[in-house]
């Protein structure tokens, strides 16, 4: 066991750092908290595009893409190293994660030459920003249940329906859209994938406000959007297969991505040192100590789990079984820490009584965490995945696999 880079990894890291040093400035802690990949406004989008163009020019964009498509043919661990290094600098959010991490590889595998030429270079340089139009109000955990319809009309397709939970849709130029083209066959079989232009007036995007007050997602309404057949990605009724490529790359992007934000358990120590519980410093209360120790132990475990994932990547292997637990355990941990932080504030749990107290921070943590337990595969879906794919338990009984979608 060894935490150091291999010689090849060390070289890559040093190259990355040299370029970053010359092109960006290190964070100094004064930066506003920001999401790692969501831009908040037009200005941030513009700055993100500019930074992406510079990376692309220097060969630091699309790291894991093949050189033939302008990438660097980098290994997954090199992507991790880049993410670590770039994370040390004050750079704009990476609004291109979906384009480069998900759409690019899907187009490379399933696209026509014309599609590759149209999509890949502009995704790499950040000229185009992509979003993923998969989930629907009635198709969340059960993605294959989507109802957005695409009907043939001459050489065109006409698409209508509603998408939801679309990150970044409001500033994206393009979207990869899964639609049902044949409702008379079983649900997984009648789907087709399309590449669409988000600026088309047939597409309307509305932000979704979350319980935390933020709005990272959108609803997208599609009303008779007309696209040529050349916008179809992959074969007709082959959409599920194409979507699986996208989803596999999504999982990979997450496993090499920057660790999720959120509070550190140690911050609760600081809070408990400042506040009182039952007339004494809260940090002297055995229950406070017990809860915090438990949080620290679980958070460390998640951190070290990511080291195990990186070890697999470093060895050129796929992330192992351990990679599945992070998603399951993180949301609940954040939710419990948020609740505990709010409670430590005393009677006034949840009400900010003094300006500058910690209530707002922990309240936001608490109200953000439920999203972690749901988005990207709920806790319940994760447990099913672990149970079936890792432990090999019998699958849930599926009543919907063979019936025509129209009869479900």
């Amino acid at each position: 066991m060894d935490f150091s880079d291999s010689p090849e990894e060390a070289t890559f890291r040093s190259d990355a750092r040299s370029w970053l040093d010359a092109n960006a400035t290190l964070r100094d802690g004064s930066e506003k908290a920001q999401d790692h990949f969501m831009a908040r406004d037009a200005d941030e989008v513009a700055r993100a595009r500019d930074w992406q163009a510079r990376k692309a020019e220097a060969g630091w964009a699309g790291l894991t893409w093949p050189r033939a498509f302008g990438g660097r043919d980098a290994t997954p661990i090199e992507q991790v190293i880049w993410n670590q290094e770039e994370g040390r600098y004050a750079v704009p959010p990476n609004a291109f994660l979906i384009g480069i991490g998900l759409v690019g590889p899907t187009v490379m595998m399933h696209g026509t030459e014309a599609q590759k030429a149209a999509v890949l270079p502009r995704a790499l340089t950040g000229e185009d920003i992509w979003c993923q139009l998969f989930s629907e109000p009635a198709a969340g955990s059960d993605l294959a249940g989507i109802r957005t319809r695409a009907r043939r009309d001459g050489d065109d397709w006409v698409i209508s329906g509603q998408k939801v939970w679309t990150s970044g849709a409001h500033y994206s130029s393009h979207g990869i859209l899964l639609a049902r083209t044949d409702p008379q066959v079983p649900k997984h079989k009648g789907l087709t994938m399309f590449l669409v232009d988000m600026s088309d007036p047939a597409i309307e995007t509305r932000p979704i406000r979350q319980i935390s007050g933020g709005a990272s997602f959108n609803e997208v309404f599609i009303d008779d959007l007309r696209v040529p057949d050349s916008a179809r990605l992959g074969g007709e009724s082959e959409g599920w297969k194409v979507a699986l490529t996208t989803l596999m790359n999504e999982r990979f992007s997450i496993s090499v991505g920057r660790a999720s934000g959120g509070a550190r358990a140690e911050e609760l120590i600081a809070l408990a040192t400042r506040v009182e519980r039952n007339g004494r410093p809260a940090i002297e209360d055995g229950e406070v100590r017990s809860r915090i120790a438990d949080f620290v132990a679980r958070q460390r475990g998640l951190e070290f789990t990511s080291y195990r994932v990186m070890t697999s990547l470093s060895r050129g292997e796929a992330p192992g079984e351990e990679s599945s637990i992070g998603k399951l355990l993180l949301g609940k941990l954040r939710q419990e820490m948020g609740a505990f932080g709010m409670e430590l504030a005393g009677t006034a749990a949840g009400i900010s009584v003094k300006a500058g107290d910690d209530t707002a921070r922990w309240r936001n943590e608490y109200l953000t965490a439920p999203g972690n337990r749901i988005a990207g595969g709920s806790d319940e879906i994760q447990r099913t995945i672990i149970g079936e794919r890792i432990l090999g338990l019998p699958p849930d009984i599926r009543v919907d696999k063979s019936a025509p979608f129209s009869e479900l």
Binding site: I208, R209, I211, N278, P281, A348, T384, R398
Partner: protein
């Protein structure tokens, strides 16, 4: 053995449920979250007109002369409807305080107005963290109060406040302050539940009146009674959260089935149910102890509150979870209940406080820091 409600009480519940269901809708709660007035004066008027605000006030003093069990029923229905009314501070705390510790004059001058909905008395026991009588730094000298109280629920909407402050001997007592009087500054706070507006009140030599019967023991009794009644409000809201999640699980389909047919969902809902019913059993005992003046009230109040806090937190968090993506959107209902649950935690103190109250009775109090 009769550990349930009478037919008359069941009728009261039905009447209240209908009335609150008509007036205090979830849509109105959403509107308040989005900036509308945090106090539902319309529902408060309806309650006043129906005579509900004087439920536990004697007939001589303008009320209906009923007791703690009827108050508990009202509390549960308020919880179920999420009505944005100062029920807990005004009716479950201020009224009993006046009844048990006030003068005849104070009762005569205030109780009829409370029953009519004209007088609203907020309760100002907290000072940031901790609860009176254990944590009080506001002081009264020569009938003048100075100090800061926060959070005071409905502090900005109330006409009066019942304030915990130390007297000239340093003993925590309860005082009545006219909030329109001199030396009172009220600032709005940012509560997690905007249907329960909260304020910070600064008193600077504000004239106040002592409730002569109030001493630390009386304040504790007051909190015990309030905790029992709040437990009913908590149970009402948790049960509504369970009901709407059960409905959703019966309607929402995934993988070709209603998601309530999946054990992961079904068993979570069963766990919610079990926690709520456990809390209800404790709350029943608390209501009986409160109504009958049983000496086990402090213990009964603590266990009622502890299980109610647990039931509410579990039910509201998992209500969001089982709603999936829709659950953590602002426009959906589940977070309304989560917010009210936290607000009720804030108003009477977290489990840490009530565990100590329980153990103080069963074992030894925790030693003070040396």
């Amino acid at each position: 053995m009769n550990f349930g409600f009478s037919e008359e009480q069941d009728t009261i519940r039905e009447t209240l449920a209908r009335m609150l269901g008509d007036h205090a809708t979830l849509k109105s709660a959403h509107n308040r979250l989005d900036g509308a007035d945090g106090f539902d004066t319309a529902t408060w008027s309806v309650l006043a007109d129906g005579g509900w605000l004087g439920l536990a006030i004697s007939e001589a003093e303008g009320g209906a002369g009923m007791g703690a069990v009827e108050l508990a029923i009202l509390a549960e229905e308020i919880g179920r409807s999420l009505a944005a009314v100062p029920y807990l501070p005004a009716l479950c705390m201020a009224v009993p305080a006046l009844q048990s510790a006030g003068t005849q004059d104070q009762r005569t001058s205030l109780l009829p107005g409370i029953a009519k909905g004209r007088t609203i008395i907020a309760t100002a026991l907290a000072e940031g963290g901790g609860l009176a009588p254990d944590t009080v730094s506001a002081k009264v000298v020569q009938d003048r109060l100075s100090g800061q109280k926060a959070p005071v629920t409905f502090g900005a909407e109330a006409t009066h406040a019942l304030v915990a402050a130390t007297d000239e001997e340093g003993t925590p007592r309860l005082y009545l302050a006219d909030l329109s009087g001199s030396g009172v500054t009220i600032g709005a706070l940012d509560p997690i539940d905007r249907t329960r507006p909260a304020a910070r009140i600064d008193f600077d030599n504000a004239p106040v009146e002592l409730l002569p019967g109030s001493d630390p023991a009386a304040i504790r009794r007051l909190l015990d009674g309030a905790a029992v009644l709040a437990a009913f409000e908590q149970i009402g809201l948790a049960e509504r959260a369970l009901a709407l999640t059960t409905d959703y699980a019966g309607e929402r389909h995934a993988f070709g089935r209603a998601i309530g047919g999946f054990q992961a969902v079904k068993h979570r809902l069963a766990d919610m149910f079990a926690k709520i019913e456990l809390a209800r059993s404790n709350a029943f005992f608390g209501a009986w102890a409160l109504a009958s003046g049983d000496s086990r009230l402090p213990e009964a109040a603590a266990v009622a509150r502890l299980t109610a806090l647990d039931a509410v937190q579990f039910a509201t968090e998992e209500s969001i979870q089982l709603h999936g993506g829709i659950g953590f959107t602002w426009a959906a209902d589940p977070h309304l209940f989560l917010r009210r649950g936290w607000q009720l935690k804030a108003e009477l103190g977290t489990a840490a406080i009530w565990r100590e109250r329980l153990l103080g009775h069963l074992a030894t109090p925790l030693r003070a820091a040396s």
